[in-house]
Symmetry: C2
Subunit: 161 residues, 2 copies
């Protein structure tokens, strides 16, 4: 890990489960690189590895959900951080949203999004999404998980050149 990589821990990111669907085919993955980028219209940016199968689903359908994990949902973060598998969506309760993207009912809050446009950035694609609908699903008092709380769960320390 480079010197720069060790300083990156001071950046603040949350932990999210991104849900994608194309017709009956669904998938979901854990992501930390999500942020707001515009007030009007309300736009979010999601940086995603284009080699993942979820990226293809997102591009084909043009929709995704961004589900906020709370600090108590470490096992959820770990589960959806695994590679795609036949039974990955068996964990959690999923409900189809207005756009058709699956919403994780156990999340703290969700954003139901439509793909707007994107830009390549190194080994990722930065996808700009328009928020069509949003909601809070858990009672007040819970707080969003901070990515630093996950340790090196995702093995990202190996991803720096």
């Amino acid at each position: 890990m480079s010197d720069i990589a060790s300083v990156l821990k001071h950046l603040t990111h949350g932990v999210y489960v991104v849900g994608v669907a194309d017709g009956e085919q669904t998938n979901a993955f854990t992501a930390a690189w999500v942020m707001q980028v515009s007030f009007s219209p309300i736009l979010l940016a999601l940086s995603i590895n284009p080699k993942h199968s979820s990226y293809q689903l997102l591009k084909k359908s043009g929709v995704c959900s961004i589900n906020v994990l709370s600090s108590a949902q470490q096992s959820m973060a770990a589960h959806f951080g695994q590679p795609a598998s036949a039974d990955k969506m068996a964990q959690g309760t999923w409900k189809k949203s207005v756009t058709g993207a699956p919403i994780l009912q156990e999340s703290l809050a969700y954003f139901d999004c439509e793909f707007s446009h994107e830009i390549s950035a190194g080994d990722h694609q930065v996808v700009i999404c328009r928020v069509r609908e949003a909601g809070q699903l858990s009672a007040e008092g819970k707080r969003a998980m901070n990515y630093n709380e996950t340790g090196d769960m995702d093995g990202s320390s190996d991803l720096y050149s």
Copy 2:
């Protein structure tokens, strides 16, 4: 504020002071919309209002610093959240970096960046920056400020259409 806007508080953002310079002309502003977007190369994304004078400086010089504020630096966040003024840079200790961008010596950590490319996103520009150098400036034990800790300091609740 729309219903969607009220749910946005569940997104996790840090608080940063972004330093820009073109020759002897310098400026700095508080930003929350910063995240990592690529492992290799290491790239950060910064969403910036293109109407701000700092955006022009960043584009002219092609460099900026991203300085991480700690949870104890609320007054620093407020100061650099104000509009540009003649004496804005009088607060804080600034040191010119390798790229020429000013580094805030009181910050928890900094990233010295070069402009790579950008994309428009609603009322902001998403600037992708390559990190040339980075460092931790404060002793261990301090933690980065979370944007939610600033309340509505920046008046952003008025910026939703």
